[in-house]
């Protein structure tokens, strides 16, 4: 057994996290910053953080992930990181010529109390930031929240910095897609185009973290939200903040700064969440949902009705980020599946509240937990107590899946051992199809493998 020390008996832990279902803020800030065109993320702290974040994002995307670091040593930790950051600005702009540097802090710089905004101001004052270049900054101490919080904080910083308040209103909306994959951002953009609704999306990592192979390393790939678009987002008529955990803060900043009304909606995963999103887009824009989208929807519903027998009643264990888990749980329930064990390391009361709403009675009978010690060790223990037919989560789920011989669908962050997540969306109706394809494949592969020979099916 790969996880041979995990006992079936669940005991409360108050201090030890084992096999976390989250990581720390800065990587989220880095990911968000990569969704701005020409932006170079910068990690203000020890160089190890930056190295870890770049490595993990790289393994997830199999793409170059460029980011600077203030490379603290003990001296900087004692005397403050101002000098390191000033030096960094100088070097970053000289060597890599970014349009924007997006600084995020780390536990180190936060613990010693570096004031990045003041240091940045100093850099501007001292002329260290070239004209026309931008520095944005998010406070992302690793000991608060999770990687999702870090993403949210950087999004909020973008929303605070770029949008310009106008006295006119543009016939366009803002889409804050939340922490989803480049493929998902691409898919949401496609849906918006299909709806004929003009929009600004940020962050937008499509075209950045799924950059084509060209024989040339484009240091700033052509994707990402552009600065002019970001500026214009202040004149949009509405903001869709998708995913309360990752997008609400940015939506609120936009409202505060530019009076753009917003609504927090679920990331459009599954039928119902996508329905609600498109209904709202239609409502806000006056553009009807076109037949082409209606047909897409009909196709995925068709798969569900056709394949219902293989989905019905299947118990599922889920782990990952709240903005994904919430609509995913709703989707599974809509198909009569049974999400029985759910953990997310990301803290926040809303998660349990919303899950209770979605799950109804299943919430009481199921195991749902988020925040501290809502980890994969606990999830595994739950599974040992009530086995499931399917596990959905990031790559780390493969250990449990193998030990317990449970079909496994990779979804979430990070996925280190398969391709697909950056190219095939899980959002929208197309994404629902992908999820179905994956789930049915995993379940049926096991059936095919384990069926006695006389029960081996040709037709399914």
């Amino acid at each position: 057994m790969l996880l041979r020390h995990t006992p079936k008996e669940v005991k409360d832990r108050k201090a030890l996290t084992i096999n976390p279902a989250k990581t720390c803020q800065p990587i989220g800030a880095m990911y968000a910053a990569l969704g701005i065109h020409g932006c170079l993320p910068h990690s203000h702290g020890s160089q190890g953080c930056c190295s870890y974040h770049r490595s993990t994002l790289t393994r997830h995307y199999k793409e170059p992930v460029m980011a600077g670091t203030s490379s603290f040593t003990e001296g900087a930790s004692v005397f403050g990181g101002q000098s390191n950051l000033l030096q960094s600005f100088n070097n970053l702009f000289s060597i890599y010529d970014p349009d924007i540097v997006a600084v995020h802090t780390t536990c180190l710089s936060e613990t010693i109390g570096d004031d990045v905004s003041q240091i940045t101001q100093k850099a501007i004052d001292e002329g260290k930031i070239p004209a026309g270049k931008h520095v944005i900054y998010a406070s992302t101490p690793s000991y608060v929240g999770s990687h999702v919080t870090g993403f949210s904080n950087m999004c909020a910083s973008i929303a605070k910095y770029f949008p310009e308040k106008q006295d006119y209103e543009l016939d366009q909306v803002n889409i804050l897609p939340g922490w989803v994959e480049p493929s998902d951002m691409r898919e949401i953009k496609r849906l918006m185009s299909e709806m004929h609704v003009p929009f600004v999306m940020f962050p937008d990592t499509s075209g950045v973290l799924d950059a084509p192979q060209t024989g040339f390393h484009q240091f700033y790939p052509k994707g990402g939200a552009s600065v002019p678009d970001l500026k214009r987002s202040g004149a949009s008529s509405f903001t869709f903040a998708l995913g309360k955990f990752s997008s609400e803060a940015a939506g609120e900043e936009l409202r505060k700064k530019c009076d753009v009304p917003y609504e927090v909606m679920e990331v459009p995963i599954g039928i119902n969440a996508t329905d609600r999103f498109l209904m709202k887009v239609s409502e806000v824009s006056g553009c009807p949902v076109p037949e082409s989208i209606n047909d897409e929807r009909g196709r995925v519903v068709d798969i569900i009705t056709d394949m219902q027998q293989y989905l019905h009643g299947k118990k599922v264990a889920l782990f990952g980020d709240p903005d994904i888990l919430i609509p995913l749980t709703e989707f599974l329930l809509a198909m009569d599946m049974k999400p029985v064990h759910i953990v997310s390391g990301t803290p926040g009361k809303y998660f349990m509240e919303r899950m209770k709403e979605i799950m109804g009675d299943d919430f009481e009978t199921g195991n749902v937990k988020n925040g501290p010690r809502a980890d994969m060790f606990l999830l595994h223990q739950w599974i040992k107590n009530e086995p499931v037919d399917l596990i959905i989560g990031n790559t780390y789920g493969k250990y449990i899946a193998r030990d317990e011989n449970i079909p496994f669908v990779r979804m979430g962050f990070p996925i280190l051992d398969r391709i697909g997540h950056s190219y095939f969306p899980v959002t929208g109706y197309a994404g629902a199809m992908r999820i179905l394809d994956k789930m049915l494949g995993a379940i049926m592969d096991q059936m095919d493998r384990e069926a006695p020979e006389e029960k081996f099916e040709l037709v399914m």
Binding site: H5, I18, P20, S55, T56, N91, P372
Partner: protein, 541 residues
Amino acid sequence: MSFEKLDDTMMKTYPTKVYRKRKKAAMVNDPGEVKEIQANVRTIPGIITQRGCTYAGCKGVVLGPTRDIVNITHGPIGCGFYSWLTRRNQTRPENETSENFMTYCFSTDMQDSNIVFGGEKLLKDAIQEAYDLFHPKAIAIFSTCPVGLIGDDVHAVAREMKAQFGDCNVFGFSCEGYKGVSQSAGHHIANNQIFKHVIGNDDSRSDSKFRVNLLGEYNIGGDAFVLEELFEKCGIELVATFSGNSSIDHFANAHTADLNLIMCHRSINYVAEMMEVKFGVPWTKVNFIGAEQSAKSLRKVGAYFEDPQLISRIEEVIAEEMLKTDEAAAKYRPGTEGKTAMLFVGGSRAHHYQDLFAELGMKTLAAGYEFAHRDDYEGRRVLPSIKVDADSRNIEELHIEKDPERYSQALQDRKAALMEKGMEFSDYEGMMAQMEKGALVIDDISHYEMEKLVEVYKPDVFCAGIKEKYAVQKMGIPLKQLHSYDYGGPYAGFDGAVNFYKEIERMVNTNVWGLIKAPWSTQSAMSAKYARGKHAVASHT
């Protein structure tokens, strides 16, 4: 290609201060006249670097591969998360129930309240919970950045808990990420604590005649498995490997070996040095990367023990193994001969792997380490002349004394006698002495320099790590990770050499790079405009 031109291309964009500093870290090699290179100095802030931190070097590299220690990261969740199995240190527990915590990640997941009020209580509770859940032999605590800053005394906590448990060795590492200038500091810290808390805890001694330790072999891709098998074939007992496929029990017993063999000089020489001072165990540098070097290293062991039977057995094994490698080289070399490589990685791999490339008939155009010191480049002879700067001074230097009871004068006498005969001990010649004249050596290469280097030199294969991989590959050049082997390997020993030949042959000869350019990017495609009948007339230019 002259260095001047390269310097121009590679560093001209740098601000003056950066240029001045980086210039000292890059030079054209002359093995006849090894020059001083800048190494083990601070990374310049804002430079995109390969380097990681002290925590990574301590927890990830040295202790990570040991399966039966519960390694608790004391800090916010990220550090533990990122060092959770993301390198490929393989381990093979004795049996299906024996301890293996490699697949687990343990963390105190510090929250802001812990930063404000201190995290010692949290740490104690976490250790207690780990003990209650697993009853492990040992629990190790790794400090992350904020721990040092807020002043948690992990060593005191460790002592207290160890005393309380009685049957569990608990020890801590002050390996905060900001200590030192790279992972290297973490190695040193790991060496120190392992030496203090573990090595020498078990004096039992098997009755086999040839007992050695292998130091600085981390079982990436199963390298240690290959070497274990090789040693066994030769009749040599591996008392402990630091730390590939290791158990803390092996470490405890390591001081009873007759000889320490060092693979990765950078990460582990401290342990070898300390063991020699305290226990009298001599050390010698070996290299099991490449068939020739593996043979040479085995012969070194034979020479050390001066046992005719052993020596003859070693020769038999070498002869047998070389059949495989010769055959493989003959098969793959036609595809690799004359091709070129660059290696920028680690603290010894950039050196060792040059031998493998040589066996493939490939030229190493440029190489450099990520976290090495000057001695790894220039050889240990420069040790006395290395200035200890503020960053290095932060790392504890243990004061070790001869163990009056366990010190082996006999081994030291043997060493002295063999040195008389010309055998080398306690030495490492460094990379530069073995590299070709005219090749380029660059320490702590920056991303910027790397891209320029690839652009100008266009090597057939580039060796580095995951952060570099896809940027280089976007340029149409295959990159071989030598941290994780791209989840291939093993590459050590003779079997490993065969694997490596095959892998490199694949990489430098694959067709897939030819797919990059779309035909319309080089041809003018449009000719007709819906003109009937003209379809047969192509306008390809």
